[in-house]
């Protein structure tokens, strides 16, 4: 827990101020994930290792069933590896308990899901405020930062619209704002354009590009090669292992 002390208070510095010094945000070493269904054991991940630096824009590609979703869940601390270690910004999260994982998800990771996952009963600003609510920020501060984040994704005029009153592209931009609002170490986007028409998809990809340019670390999971091209580096996963697993990072960098 020592490494987490510096993030235990709510960070309020403006978004986009990140150190230029590159250090790994993600360090994955020999991670296995085994699912058990009855007597049947399925290895979804079979010894995955990788390292992603601060400020990188990485796409993880693979067909369905390749294990890319499982990897994304582990990277997002939504699931824990069966074996192996995963360090997020220097802290080993593979040994953390539920409460600590919730804390890590809250402060260090911003999620963008394929299905947007906005709460339909809350307006855009309140949806963006949610992570700050669980971080314990005060109401005025939550509001201020949510509005800031929505302005950043170009939805400053939609703050009191509910998800039902927004287009798919706009909803995904609200989700991006929600991912940004806690100023996380990592933005994880799982097929962010999967449910969008091509115009909205381009819109959202441009937004991610912009965030990358301003210094964010972004990991994008997709099966679409065109989408993956936007990233600075692509990791291909197949049958639970990175393709060319011998030294995937060295060449790609």
């Amino acid at each position: 827990m020592t490494g987490m002390d510096d993030t235990s208070e709510v960070r309020i510095e403006p978004t986009g101020v990140h150190p230029v010094v590159r250090r790994p945000v993600i360090e994955v070493e020999d991670v296995w994930k085994t699912y058990r269904t009855g007597s049947l054991e399925v290895d979804a991940l079979r010894g995955v290792s990788c390292s992603i630096d601060t400020g990188e824009y990485v796409a993880i590609m693979g067909p369905s069933g390749s294990g890319k979703s499982t990897l994304m869940h582990i990277l997002g601390c939504l699931d824990v590896p069966t074996s192996g270690t995963y360090r997020l910004a220097g802290d080993d999260v593979s040994t953390m308990v539920e409460e600590e994982l919730a804390h890590v998800r809250n402060r260090r990771i911003g999620f963008v899901f394929q299905q947007f996952n906005l709460l339909s009963s809350l307006d855009a600003a309140r949806n963006v405020e949610l992570p700050l609510l669980y971080a314990g920020a005060s109401r005025p501060e939550r509001r201020r930062r949510a509005v800031e984040a929505l302005e950043r994704v170009g939805l400053g005029d939609r703050i009191d619209h509910r998800p039902g009153e927004l287009s798919g592209g706009q909803q995904q931009r609200v989700a991006v704002a929600r991912a940004l609002v806690t100023d996380p170490d990592l933005i994880l986007a799982d097929e962010p354009t999967g449910n969008l028409d091509s115009v909205s998809a381009r819109d959202v990809m441009a937004l991610l590009d912009e965030l990358h340019v301003s210094g964010r670390t972004i990991v994008l999971i997709t099966h679409d090669a065109d989408v993956a091209d936007a990233a600075g580096r692509s990791l291909r996963i197949f049958d639970g292992q990175f393709a060319g697993a011998d030294a995937p990072m060295a060449e790609a960098r």
């Binding site: 997002g76 939504l78 009963s121 971080a135």
Partner: protein, 414 residues
Amino acid sequence: MNLVETFRTGLEAVVSHRMRSTLTVLGIMIGITAVILTVGLGEGAQQQVGSEISALGSNLLTVTPGSTTTSSGIRGGFGSASTLTVGDAAALTSKVVAPDVNAVAPATSSSESLVAGTSNWTTSVVGTDPSWLTVRGRSMTEGRFIVSHDVATRAEVVVLGATTAQELFGFRDPVGQSVDIAGQPMSVIGVLNTVGSSSSSSTVANPDDQAVVPLTTASALLFGGSSRNSVSQILIQATSSGTLSAAYQESDAELLSLHRITTTSGADFTITSEQQILSTATSVDRTLTVLLGGIAGISLLVGGIGVMNIMLVSVTERIREIGLRKALGATPRVIRRQFLVEASVLGTVGGVLGALLGIVGALVLPHLISNPITVSPVAAVGAIAIAIAIGIVFGVYPAGRAAKLPPIDALRSE
């Protein structure tokens, strides 16, 4: 996340899921209303019987012929034995023999047909003396009661209860009119006050429906019988409720010696106090309350199962929401607290609305069904507590389970 924020989040969820919240509240509300009304009906019946019995006269002892013992059944036999006489009653009026007795009224009664013009009405005709009015704790609304002179002269006069007068004469003034009792024309001299009567409880005869005649007139002209001096009961009023048992002892001893009986078990009469009647009647009504309470409990249980269903379904529906909240940093504890607030709010709102509806029902229903309903604060508070407990148990338990799911499983669920 502090308590105010937790409360606000829970409250928002209640408001935003209108249909679910309404159904849950409705389920709890109906259960609570049922409990309050059924328990209220039972208690109302108990109180009614109590007030009816006290209307019979206060600090009252009733002596009847014959006695029952556990070993040999009925002794002397009701009706057959005319063991009580006017003389017994006269002896008890002595302040030396029975200092704690305030008044004594011998009485004999029979069901007779009363005819006035074209109306006829069958009611209980009581033959007694002037002290009956004191002993029974009654008064006159009109005319006068029987006086000693009437008893001495076997006057052919009658005093009617309010209901009896109404049945025979409608809205005409009965005083001065003539009534035929068992074929004997009698003159109406007065009408008794109304004590309020029961339509529902059959435990006590209606005190507003009777006709009172002088004892001598009754035995000589109306009822006949072998002994003109025998009476069917002697009513004794103690000087106060504190002396009731002393009056009982004195009367018992005096009657035993008058009847030359040496053992208490050989008594040919029985003395009952109004408390005994009251306790019998109350125990009957208590059984009724338990029965109604049982029905209410079952309706609450059924309501609770309904609420449980709605809660379970709604938590299942919201597993994705729980998963999302967890992905965004909510700990299982925060999730459980949010659902605890939601469930308590639903339970409290349902309970309070149910209690209000129950109270309104208790005020309105007696006008429609003629049964009194007493709202018991204990039942109301207890029912609300149960409502909250139902909400919490059935709302928080499934939410607690959902909160424990790995966030990704929750997010994936459809």
